[in-house]
Symmetry: C2
Subunit: 417 residues, 2 copies
């Protein structure tokens, strides 16, 4: 399928390949935030931003921003962006595709001689992935004014986060202020799931970034000699935990079959004493629960607690009520932006659907201070955070074209708001 | 209940208390084989053996042996014994009760002026528990001539097992020879299970030491993003493994309800990548299977393999056939010895039953070279290998009396064989 695009697939491919080459050679593709390789990637991007006619700066939060003035001063900014840092042994597209596409939209507009009413900014957010400091979305939290102050004292590799932000060119000492001039924010990202590929669609217009809730379950049984304790005299914490794992799966699958994204995973599972000849005495489970609708989360936790009581009773173990470790509610995307993205898909002929994002993104923080929206593009087998992560360049380019068309539409619509 | 015993409960209590005092004070009760504390315990026992009129020696395998000549030279030995080493944070009775009781039988015979036809030997076997060298029953294996030669090169705490055996007074360089003069071997041990206590019985006459089979199961699923991968598109290794854990429990419980000891435990369980936001990709389970009857083991493994095939199919994961890691078949005890022990229980008025041992013991190796038997005495809540391990002194003393009576009976019966 050949389309008449305002963006250049070849330039997108060249940028993605150039950034892929900036990696720890022994662990492709690794370019973690705050590392020398990260700064090398940033230098590449800064040059590319400038070559596209953008005026570059590092903001106080450590984000690389490239700006293009609009025709009407003072009416605010339309921002596009994502992140260029990777997880260890990560992929070439997670984050990078969104930054390169944002840049390509600016180049495409410039080449087509299109002046926007609004200022346009292209942003590479600092440290979207969980960084060496153990926290994520450092740059977008900072831009939204919600980066916890105590994070600045966090230490890793014998430096503090404050020093890390200073090293990339930010100003950790500046008073943190939420940007209030951003009228719309758009981010392209690989789906990191199998839905678009499975349905042979080009674009997912994101409806919300699902909430992430972490819940801990502790099962306490009794350590007994595995050889001498009769089967019917045991309080086996592992057997009880196995019932709990299956209950999590069953309850979650039922909610996943109703409208709105829902998924629950027992991602961490540890057992004690973990010795061949001892009946397991204790299990710790950590659940990762993603919910688009808050009611689903409530239903899940209520049902789970009741089921766990029955499991404890039936297995002669004790299970405390699930303990909430962290809870970040879902962040809905903006209706005007979603409509603009749908319309852009129509214009470009992209097969599209609406869908929630199960993963967290910088857009979740930008949604606190701006009308925000995201588009997903397909990725192979839904794989990400792994070297085999892959997205077709044609799919990325089509996503860029959708963003460009959406930006043009929003530039007009926001004038009327 | 006061009984007219040939043995002295007070002497037994004094010996057990004296050995309990020889412990790492910060981790009662810890007296691991090859440690200075172990040698201190051995010194106590050697003195006590001598005070009882026994001639002491350390054999080539590192066992402490106290001997009393019988009336008829050359007809062989009746041996009693167990072990004085403990696990870390172990108890005061596991092994120790058997050594002290063996000594007390010798003292009781001496005091009563009873001369046996056979030589009598009292043995403290070296390192019955899993030692710093990672292996167990080192002394009884050596006496039975089945201690693998390559074990001598095993290293721990910067010494080899050969050096460890030399340090306790053994001779690792001597050619290993199975003793061929032992006509009967008897061992008293705490049950390490809840059966006798539950049935308010004094003595368990052991029918067999259950086989110990270790089987590894590997479940291979697929690591996926926990937020973005729909519930129905996962190959969750943990969910599949949970089904496997429950299948092990169900199959094992069914076999436990049939005649003959059977128990299977998922004692080790590890999961990868064990990260909150990643669908589990791999689980390793290690099963500990104890079986008195070989057929039960076969039935279990056959049924398990079929069930695992179904689990793999239903959950979209792969599960290789269970891999046999180690397999030590059950060791039956000797009929003549069991009958003598039953009769001794009758004589002393001890409430008794026959039962298999789910745990391994030195008697399993002695059974290779002699008619062997064991008696169990009750222990509180079935607990062992823990500081709270406890046995009533009256129960230990009654066990000693049963052994003494059985020795007298066997001394006569073996002359007629």
């Amino acid at each position: 399928m050949s389309r008449n695009l305002a963006v250049s697939p070849a330039r997108i491919a060249a940028d993605i390949d150039a950034l892929a080459a900036i990696t720890d050679p022994n662990r492709p593709w690794t370019r973690r935030a705050f590392s020398p390789l990260f700064l090398e990637g940033r230098a590449y991007l800064e040059n590319a931003f400038r070559a596209a006619g953008l005026e570059t700066r590092i903001d106080a939060a450590g984000n690389l921003v490239g700006a293009r003035k609009g025709r009407t001063p003072g009416i605010g900014t339309i921002m596009l962006g994502s992140h260029s840092d990777t997880v260890p042994d990560g992929g070439r597209f997670d984050g990078v595709a969104g930054v390169v596409v944002a840049l390509e939209v600016a180049r495409g507009l410039e080449e087509a001689g299109i002046e926007l009413e609004h200022d346009l900014e292209v942003t590479d957010f600092l440290a979207e992935e969980v960084s060496i400091f153990g926290v994520s979305c450092i740059g977008s939290r900072g831009m939204a004014g919600v980066r916890p102050d105590e994070w600045l004292g966090r230490k890793a590799d014998s430096m503090t986060l404050a020093e890390g932000i200073r090293d990339v060119g930010g100003d950790p000492d500046a008073e943190q202020k939420a940007r209030d001039d951003i009228r719309a924010f758009l981010e392209l990202h690989i789906e990191q799931g199998p839905v678009l590929e499975g349905e042979t669609l080009d674009i997912g217009v994101v409806t919300a970034i699902a909430g992430i809730t972490r819940v801990e379950i502790i099962v306490e049984g009794r350590a007994d000699h595995a050889g001498t304790t009769p089967m019917n005299r045991r309080a086996d914490a592992l057997a009880a935990a196995a019932h709990a794992v299956l209950a999590v799966e069953t309850l979650s699958s039922a909610l996943a079959a109703t409208p709105g994204h829902f998924a629950a995973t027992t991602g961490e599972f540890e057992m004690w004493p973990n010795a061949a000849n001892v009946v397991p005495s204790r299990v710790r489970m950590l659940l990762d629960i993603r919910s688009e609708h808050r009611d689903d989360l409530g239903d899940f936790l209520t049902s789970l607690e009741a089921v766990l009581e029955g499991i404890a009773r039936d297995n002669g173990v004790s299970i405390a009520p699930p303990r909430l470790v962290s809870d970040n509610p879902a962040m809905p995307m903006d209706d005007l932006v979603m409509d603009a993205l749908d319309a852009a898909c129509q214009t470009t002929g992209a097969g599209h659907r609406r869908m929630a994002s199960g993963a967290g993104h910088d857009a979740a923080f930008m949604a606190r201070i701006a009308r925000a929206g995201m588009v997903f593009i397909p990725c192979r087998d839904g794989r990400s955070h792994a070297p085999e992560e892959f997205a077709e360049n044609a799919d990325i380019a089509l996503g860029a074209e959708v963003l460009l068309q959406a930006v043009k539409r929003l530039d007009t619509q926001l004038m009327e708001q």
